[in-house]
């Protein structure tokens, strides 16, 4: 069978049929048994009860016989007779219930016969009783007569004896009738004879004779009746016995019937038993088959169930179920296989999805950017932690479905402005409507300085996603970078300009000096020349300050105890600031020494103090503080100059280090003070930090380097003077400079000092000339920056290799450190700062004496 349903249906139907069969067989057997039992009850049992009743009644009737025979008084006899008739009636009625007709008739006849006998017996007994009463009456009369006769004084006593004997005789009972007859007659005759012998009153004899005769007759009758009674007793006994025999015969027949019926019942029961056994066996076999079928089914189902349970428990073990069935369970197994593969795929898929989701969530929650998603109708859908942090919102204030307007209301608790990329102020409401349609990038700048970038992107199915980036640090760095780039550019610019201007000044000064030395000058001319030279000198100072900002000044760093330095200049500071400004010192006396140019430091501090004082027109407090710090760069000495003045706006702060930037009225400040401080500290290897809040005050923090960073050589080298170059009289000096305006005064100055010179404008020309005229050449004086590929330093190095005995002196407007850094200047190189003064040349170049 291929179909489980069909098969179970057939099994159940078979079971039902067998059960029905069992029931039918059992019912049939029971019915047969019942029928047989009913037969027994309706016939046999009735007969048995009838017979029992019959036997009982008959026995009772038979037992009545003696009673009747011995009834003492007539009314008793009549009662017995009535009783007897009642019993016979009962017996007859009982006989009527006998089903066996022949037996009934037989019984009726026998009962009738017995009844007749009893009737005769009671009649006889009645007769006997009456006879007895009659005899008693006669006996009574006789005894009365006897009493009369035997009165005292009567002579008839003797003869009366026979009468008395007779009177007694009347009480006798006669069991033997034939003997009795004779005996009675004898006694009668004797008594009568004796009466004749007695003399009696007249009329008495006939009475007595009659009494004797009638009584004798009664006696005779009584004897006969007695005999009859005896016969009747015997007859009744016989009849009773016959009746009993009949009953017994019938009982025997009934017993046979019962036996045969019992056999029938037994046979019926046997048949029923056999049938029930057969059907039961069939049912049992069918049950066994069903059990085997069910157990196989449940086993297979259990296998499938176990597999399902394992699958449900998450087992992903791939295993093929092998249950070869072509029924529903087979279908189930195959379906389950498909289901399991699908489930496993699903599990894998959901696992992938889960990890993907986790990854996304992790990203979502760990990205440095805040993120929010709004629906097309501008309701909040999702956000991450960073979003809350950025806008300083609390988780409990935000909920899914919150309108954008409410969210922004929350954000508006901190004052801010929104700018587009091109720094245009934005209206947030108009932007909100656009965000769902197009991408938007803009910034929010808080008054506290925080900057948040909004990158809003519309979603394909409406709504928009926005990423929020905290740009505060980046903006600060950018602005710092911008600042330093600006300062660098300014430095480059100013450095370049100053350099050129310095060259101009060098030429000018050189010419003015030469002019000054001219004898042809009038006093007035000389005064003009001196005045021009003074102005040139001021120009040189200006250039120096510019160079200081451009970190190209000549510094003379040394070990400086800053607290001591400050203490030493307190008077100067107090003198410089306004009178209503208190100067407070907070000096760490244990602070280590710094490596710095002390005069420049004093200059810088004085500049800062003056600026601070200017920021406090209404007075305030100026604090100078020194302490060692590990801030930014390790091993720095921090010098703070702070005031309680008006402070600076961010715009001012951005430009404060620029040269010529000033907030003072035109003509009141050079705008170079803070630039100088900046350039000096930076050139010294330190750093400057400006902190200011409008209305609160400003604090300038200088971080100065500590000694040891640049090494002790530098310390010594700074002290080393340029060694003099001794020239023989015929030896010349080769001057190398790309700038003719510099070369000419230098040539003039050397000539003024008495040295013959030769001037070239490039390093290549210089090398060529040196090679040709080495013998007459005493030294080479060259500019470092020659404008070409070969610098003055390169030239010096080359000449050193080729002509080791030839001294080379370098000149430059740049500080030695700068040259060492950019032009690989060596410590042993001789360097003269531009513009080279006549006195310096005179010291370096000396004539052989």
């Amino acid at each position: 069978m291929t179909n489980l349903r069909q098969r179970s249906r057939v099994t159940i139907l078979m079971m039902a049929a067998l059960t029905l069969g069992l029931g039918i067989v059992g019912w049939w057997a029971l019915q047969q048994t019942e029928r047989t039992a009913n037969e027994v009850q309706s016939q046999t049992l009735v007969n048995v009860s009838v017979i029992l009743g019959l036997a009982e009644r008959a026995a009772q009737i038979a037992a009545l016989g003696p009673y009747i025979g011995e009834s003492a008084v007539p009314f008793q006899l009549q009662a017995e007779r009535r009783e007897l008739e009642d019993r016979f009636d009962l017996l007859r009625n009982r006989v009527l219930t006998i089903t066996d007709l022949a037996f009934r008739t037989e019984m009726q006849q026998k009962i009738q016969s017995l009844n007749d006998r009893f009737q005769q017996l009671t009649d006889v007994v009645e007769v006997e009783l009456f006879i007895r009463e009659d005899i008693r009456a006669i006996q009574f009369e006789l005894s009365e007569w006897l009493r009369q006769l035997m009165q005292p004084g009567n002579d008839r006593i003797q003869s009366s004896n026979s009468l008395a004997v007779y009177t007694q005789f009347l009480q006798a009972d006669f069991t033997q009738p034939y003997q009795a007859e004779h005996q009675i007659e004898t006694v009668r005759q004797a008594t009568l004879n004796s009466l004749e012998a007695i003399t009696l009153e007249p009329g008495v004899l006939p009475i007595l004779r009659e009494l004797v005769n009638s009584s004798a007759d009664k006696l005779q009758e009584r004897a006969r009746v007695n005999a009859q009674k005896t016969l009747l007793f015997a007859s009744i006994r016989a009849e009773s016995e016959r009746l009993t025999e009949s009953v017994q015969g019938f009982v025997a027949r009934v017993q046979e019937d019962i036996a045969s019926q019992r056999e029938q019942i037994t046979a019926a029961v046997q048949r029923g038993r056999l049938g029930i056994m057969l059907v039961s066996l069939l049912a049992f076999l069918s049950l066994l088959e069903g059990f085997w079928f069910m157990s196989r089914m449940t086993r297979d189902l259990k296998t499938v169930t176990d597999e399902m349970t394992q699958l449900a428990d998450g087992s992903t073990e791939e295993r093929e179920l092998v249950i070869e069935r072509k029924d529903e369970i087979g279908d189930l197994v195959r379906s389950f296989g498909v289901f399991r593969r699908a489930s496993l795929d699903l599990v894998r898929l959901s696992g992938d999805l889960e990890s993907q989701k986790r990854l996304l969530e992790t990203v979502f929650n760990t990205i440095n950017d805040g993120l929010s998603v709004f629906s097309s109708d501008q309701h909040l859908l999702a956000w991450n932690e960073r979003y809350l942090e950025l806008f300083e919102l609390h988780g409990q204030d935000i909920y899914i479905g919150m309108p954008l307007r409410d969210v922004q209301q929350l954000m508006n608790q901190y004052p801010h402005k929104n700018y587009s990329l091109d720094r245009q102020l934005l209206d947030m409401d108009s932007i909100n409507d656009l965000r769902a349609r197009e991408a938007h990038l803009f910034e929010r700048q808080y008054d506290s300085g925080k900057v948040i970038e909004f990158r809003s992107q519309p979603m394909t199915d409406g709504g928009f996603v926005t990423l929020y980036t905290d740009m505060t640090d980046r903006r600060a760095i950018e602005s710092q970078l911008q600042q330093s780039q600006k300062m660098e550019a300014l430095g480059q610019l100013i450095g370049g300009v100053s350099h050129d201007f310095n060259n101009l000044l060098a030429a000018l000064v050189g010419n003015l000096q030469l002019l000054h030395t001219s004898d042809r000058l009038t006093d007035k001319d000389r005064t003009y020349a001196e005045r021009a030279m003074g102005i040139a000198e001021r120009g040189t100072h200006l250039v120096e300050r510019l160079l200081a900002f451009a970190r190209r000044q000549h510094l003379h760093p040394e070990r400086v105890d800053v607290p001591a330095l400050i203490e030493g200049m307190v008077d100067l500071i107090e003198y410089s600031v306004a009178p209503n400004v208190d100067v407070v010192l907070d000096l760490d006396d244990d602070a280590p020494e710094t490596w710095i140019d002390p005069s420049q430091l004093e200059n810088a501090l004085l500049n800062l103090a003056i600026n601070a004082s200017a920021a406090m027109p209404d007075g305030g407090q100026l604090t100078l503080k020194v302490r060692a710090t590990g801030h930014q760069v390790t091993d720095k000495i921090e010098v703070q100059v702070s005031d309680t003045g008006s402070g600076m706006s961010p715009e001012v702060m951005r430009r404060v280090w620029e040269p010529f930037f000033t907030t003072k009225a035109v003509g009141q400040g050079s705008g170079l003070g803070l630039s100088l401080v900046y350039g000096f500290v930076r050139q010294s290897g330190g750093d400057v930090l400006l902190e200011s809040q409008p209305g609160k005050g400003t604090r300038v923090r200088l971080f100065l380097p500590r000694p040891g960073l640049n090494g002790p050589e530098q310390e010594d080298r700074a002290e080393v003077p340029v060694p003099p170059v001794v020239l023989s009289p015929r030896e010349t000096v080769l001057l190398v400079d790309d700038d003719a305006s510099v070369l000419q005064p230098l040539h003039d100055a050397m000539h003024y000092l008495g040295f013959g010179t030769r001037a070239v404008s490039s390093a290549e020309a210089a090398l060529a000339w040196v090679t040709e005229h080495y013998e007459t050449l005493g030294a080479v004086l060259t500019d470092v920056n020659l404008g070409g590929e070969i610098s003055g330093v390169d030239l010096a190095n080359q000449l050193e290799l080729d002509f080791p005995d030839l001294p080379v002196v370098l000149t430059s407007g740049l500080p030695r450190e700068h040259l060492e850094q950019y032009f690989r200047l060596q410590p042993h190189h001789r360097l003269l700062a531009k513009p080279v003064r006549l006195a310096q040349l005179n010291e370096v170049f000396q004539r052989e004496s």
Partner: protein
Amino acid sequence: MSPDQKRFSQRVSLVAAVLLLVLLASPVHLVAQTPMPSRVTILVNDLGNDYFQVLSRSVRRTALEWFGNHVRVTVVSSGYDVERQRQQLNSLMAVEPSLVVLSAADPNALSAEVQALQALGHIVIAVDVQASGALITITTDNWDAGYRACQHLARALNAKGKVALLDGPPVSSISERLEGCQAALYYFTNVEVVDRENSGASYVGGIEAMSRLMSRNPDLDGVFSINDPAALGASAAATLQGRTDLLIASVDGSPAFAAALRESEGPLLTSAAQFPQLMGARAIVFGLQMLRTGNYTPQEHRIPVQLITRDNTDEFCEWQNCAGIDQNTSVP
């Protein structure tokens, strides 16, 4: 002498005195002038019973005394058979008018015969039991007999216990005794009549009936018997079963009962004594009187009873030789 015995003696004396007055007052010429009945017939039911013997003997002797030796006195017994008694009565139709002393086998069944006989000039004197139509009725005060016997029984039971009744043939004397007994017991609320059985008024019947009563009522305390033979039979049955504690009251006062009272400690308690001798004598005297006076108005006489107990049996004037009565009836 106990009070009972005293009363008893007084009553006997009174009865004797009354009889004496009646007899003495009857003028001799009446005797002489009145035609004497030549025949007296006594119809009884059971000559085996001493009571009837005493009654018959008393009638016969009184008749002989009053009517002389020529009177023919005949005794017949019906054996309690009504039909036989009817035949016996019918056989009297053929003879000359006579005195008929009838102890009826049935109080009512013989009414026609009685009236027919009286129409022929016979005088029917009903004795012992009533006979419908009889001109003279002389009975024991049977109701009083039952009443006094049962009153005594209840008292002897300390007014508490279960009592059974031994019934007898359906004649008036017996039914009156039972009524009297029940009337007496009615006043003893704690004495309960629990059963009743027909004794047939005979000794054998008494044994049987008593056996049945005892088997049905094991806790029986007392028995009232309608006559002495049945009481004696019941006593024998109770004694056989060891129930000598039972108390039996009876009516009759027969010599056998008195002898049994004297001789044994059995269950017999008391018997209300009848006076059959007196009854028989009165039957002849009242019959003769009716003949002499010609007043045929029906008359009824009841003879009182006397309880005999163990205490007074010795003084009891037995049926057969009661001197006083003999004397009072001996001389016409």
